[in-house]
């Protein structure tokens, strides 16, 4: 039997009198690679924010490793990492400083201070940046001076350096060219410990492009805040997609 990492039970979320999510139920098992499909505004980002504990659902219960969010200790909370759609990088810091921010959970305050003063070690950050194909020439460049694709990869590197078990990614392939998409997708979905780089074993990735479904084992379809289908990828048919798009 597979180990359940995350579980949503009857989740509803209301914001400013608008029902954003309606009675959502699903589980994420260890090793799952789930593609979350749905139109813009269907509730994908809200669902990811509920899954990572940023927002509390109006109704229902979320279980993380069989516990409620409040009951988790810091180590358990650190097992979840998020790649945000709007990246949320820290302006004014360099690319490598931003990636190092991903280590805040595992390091002391002294490390955070040294990172801001630009005198911390960037060895680990550089490894992850390298794996995301970030050119060395931009490591020390300020984040505002990077292109959209470069920023995207910095955000991915920051998330991966956390070495979490579960990855929640909100449209992580935005701004990337086809070659980079293939590479980054492989990096996010293949759980392996190569060159001292550890990638998450479980993931939920929201997508818009259907040609990227290869590599996922399950597909979740969401429309108007409701789950329309939750099935194995190989069982996905055109009719399913017609329902949500």
């Amino acid at each position: 039997m597979k180990n359940i990492l995350l579980e949503l039970k009857d989740i509803s979320y209301v914001k400013e009198k608008n029902l954003i999510l309606n009675k959502i139920n699903f589980k994420i098992n260890s090793g799952d690679k789930i593609a979350l499909l749905g139109k813009s505004g269907s509730g994908k980002t809200t669902l990811i924010s509920i899954l990572n504990g940023t927002i509390k659902p109006t109704k229902g219960e979320v279980k993380y490793f069989n516990k409620r969010y409040k009951e988790l200790d810091v180590n358990q909370k650190q097992k979840i990492t998020t790649i945000w759609q709007d990246l949320r990088l820290i302006e004014g810091l360099s690319a490598e400083q931003n990636v190092n921010c991903g280590l805040l959970g595992k390091r002391s305050f002294y490390f955070a201070f040294k990172n801001l003063l630009n005198i911390a070690s960037f060895k680990r950050a550089h490894k992850y940046m390298q794996s995301c194909k970030i050119p060395q020439s931009i490591y020390s460049k300020e984040i505002n001076k990077l292109s959209g694709g470069e920023k995207q990869r910095v955000a991915i590197a920051r998330s991966l350096i956390q070495e979490s078990e579960i990855l929640l990614a909100d449209e992580p392939f935005n701004n990337l060219d086809p070659k980079l998409i293939t590479l980054i997708k492989k990096l996010l979905l293949t759980h392996e410990n190569k060159n001292n780089i550890q990638t998450p074993s479980t993931g939920l990735v929201s997508l818009h492009r259907l040609d990227l479904l290869d590599g996922f084992n399950r597909v979740l379809g969401i429309k108007d805040g409701e789950i329309f289908f939750n099935l194995e990828r190989i069982k996905l048919k055109k009719s399913h997609l017609d329902e949500i798009y």
Binding site: S49, N52, G53, T54, V74, K77, Q78, I80, T81, T82, W84, D86, R88, L89, I90, E91, G92, L93, C101, G102, L104, G105, K106, R107, S108, F109, F111, A112, F113, N115, L116, L117, N118, I119, Q162
Partner: protein, 500 residues
């Protein structure tokens, strides 16, 4: 009939109409008694006294001024950052501290900010006597509060999204907090904090005029002995000091901090905090015997303030603020707009520089050589001094502005002045007015300076009450000042919000 519709451009010019009643009253009060003195004052500007003796004195006075200004600046910046953090909502959000403390700290800072450093200086000098440290403390009290407000405002622009993203990493709270605020603090320090050194120099000179020492005291003594050549030697040395400090600051870059510089800055930070605390404790305990006697007299003293007279002083102070603000807003665009050519710009810039350079107390004393003391004269003094400051901003913004609209207007056949107004100034008007709203906060506080010297409004009452040790009256005047400044700040805050 069509309704009159005001836009930002017309609002910038409209206040100039206050010059009509002001000019009328100044003409009525005009006398030729000290006109020769005024002439001598002007001529001396181009012929300052230069000899060995005065150069040595200038260096001594500059040294004193710089020491007070540097210490005040450093302490007020560091504590400004600390209180800025304590009065920003992000601090309470990350550490889950009740908002009650946030409100208390904000209120406390608003109160101490509302009183000008000159008033703090006068009150502290009366309690503790003339002392080098009083200058630093008097500047630091309102400066810490002003700096903390600016830092807090910047910290409050940190988006919830960034907060969530860093919070999600689940690092130690101090690490997340520092990472979130670092860039805002460094940028605010670069854009605002460094400029505060110039303000601290000006404030030190101003306090010197009230006896604290340094360049200001020498300026006052030269004025009292009507030695204008000597006075201008001090004023020009002040100008050199300000320009030098500005140029040095421009050269400082924080982008590539190496390890040693980082350690040095951290050491300066903690040493200053430690030094300030130790000195503060020493100051309090060392001079306790004298002070408590004075503070006790607060409860023994009586107040002879008559309600209606006091009300008149309050109204005078408000009118003084309004008139000065009106001049500071509308005079620069009016003058620059009329004399809109390259030749006129140089004398206008020079005049604006002089108005910024000459401390308002010296300016009002100079104007008093040919005019009787009046509210109009005080308003003109404060208005002109601040117009010097607003014009600097206007010139800087106009210089960096895209000239395409101006060229387009001229190609349509519009005159040079009309093209300037519609093609250049109209695009600046909104941001210019927003800055003037901020400047108005400062003008309200500065009414105290011209009030004390020019016998107008609450400032004159404060001087009188302080001289007679009527502490109850002093407290009443301070409360009135504080209320006017806080109400003004609230109104200006609304105006700024609507303009930005």
């Amino acid at each position: 009939m069509r309704k009159l519709k005001l836009n930002h451009t017309s609002i910038s010019f409209l206040p100039i109409i206050v010059c009509i009643p002001l000019a009328y009253q100044i003409l009525i009060n005009f006398h030729f008694g000290g006109f020769e003195l005024f002439q001598e004052f002007i001529i001396s500007a181009f012929n300052p006294e230069i000899n060995n003796e005065i150069i040595i004195t200038v260096f001594k006075r500059l040294n004193q001024t710089l020491v007070i200004a540097l210490f005040s600046w450093l302490i007020s910046i560091i504590f400004g950052v600390i209180f800025g953090i304590l009065s920003s909502n992000i601090f309470y959000k990350i550490f889950n501290i009740p908002v009650f403390f946030y409100n208390i700290i904000k209120f406390f800072l608003t109160i101490i900010r509302s009183i000008h450093e000159i008033i703090w200086g006068l009150v502290l000098m009366q309690i503790y006597g003339i002392n080098f440290s009083i200058g630093i403390i008097a500047i630091c009290i309102p400066y810490i509060a002003v700096n903390s407000k600016v830092f807090a405002e910047q910290l409050e622009t940190i988006e919830d999204k960034s907060f969530d993203a860093i919070n999600q990493i689940h690092g130690p709270k101090f690490s997340s907090f520092l990472t979130l605020i670092w860039n805002r603090i460094v940028n605010t320090f670069k854009n605002f904090g460094l400029y505060r050194l110039e303000c601290a120099i000006r404030s030190t000179v101003m306090l010197g005029l009230f006896g604290i020492g340094g360049l200001g005291t020498s300026i006052l003594l030269s004025f009292q002995t009507l030695n204008f050549r000597e006075l201008w030697t001090y004023l020009w040395s002040l100008a050199i000091l300000i320009i030098l400090s500005r140029e040095i600051i421009k050269k400082i870059k924080f982008n590539n901090l190496n390890k040693n510089l980082s350690i040095l800055l951290t050491a300066v930070f903690f040493t200053t905090i430690l030094f300030t605390f130790s000195y503060f404790l020493y100051f309090i305990f060392n001079s306790s015997s004298v002070d408590f006697y004075s503070i006790n007299s607060l409860f023994k003293s009586s107040s002879d303030l008559v309600f209606l007279d006091f009300l008149k002083l309050i109204i005078d102070t408000i009118i003084l603020s309004l008139l000065s603000t009106a001049i500071a807003i509308s005079l620069p665009p009016f003058v620059i707009g009329i004399f809109n050519n390259n030749t006129s710009r140089i004398p206008i810039r020079f005049l604006a520089f002089l108005l910024r350079l000459i401390p308002p107390p010296v300016l009002i004393l100079t104007l008093l050589t040919f005019n009787n003391p009046s509210l109009s004269l005080a308003a003109l003094t404060l208005g002109l001094h601040n117009a010097g400051i607003t014009s600097k901003l206007l010139f800087t913004n106009l210089d960096s502005q895209d000239k395409r609209n101006y060229i387009a207007m001229k190609s349509l056949g519009a005159s040079k002045n009309t093209s300037w107004l519609l093609g250049l100034f109209s695009q600046q008007a909104k941001s210019y007015l927003a800055y003037c709203a901020y400047r108005s906060d400062i003008i309200i506080r500065e009414t105290a300076i011209v009030g004390v010297i020019g016998s107008v409004g609450l400032g004159s009452q404060l001087q009188e009450s302080l001289s007679s040790f009527a502490w109850q009256e002093v407290i009443t005047v301070l409360i009135a000042y504080s209320i006017i400044a806080i109400v003004g700040e609230l109104i200006n805050g609304k105006i700024k919000t609507s303009l930005t």
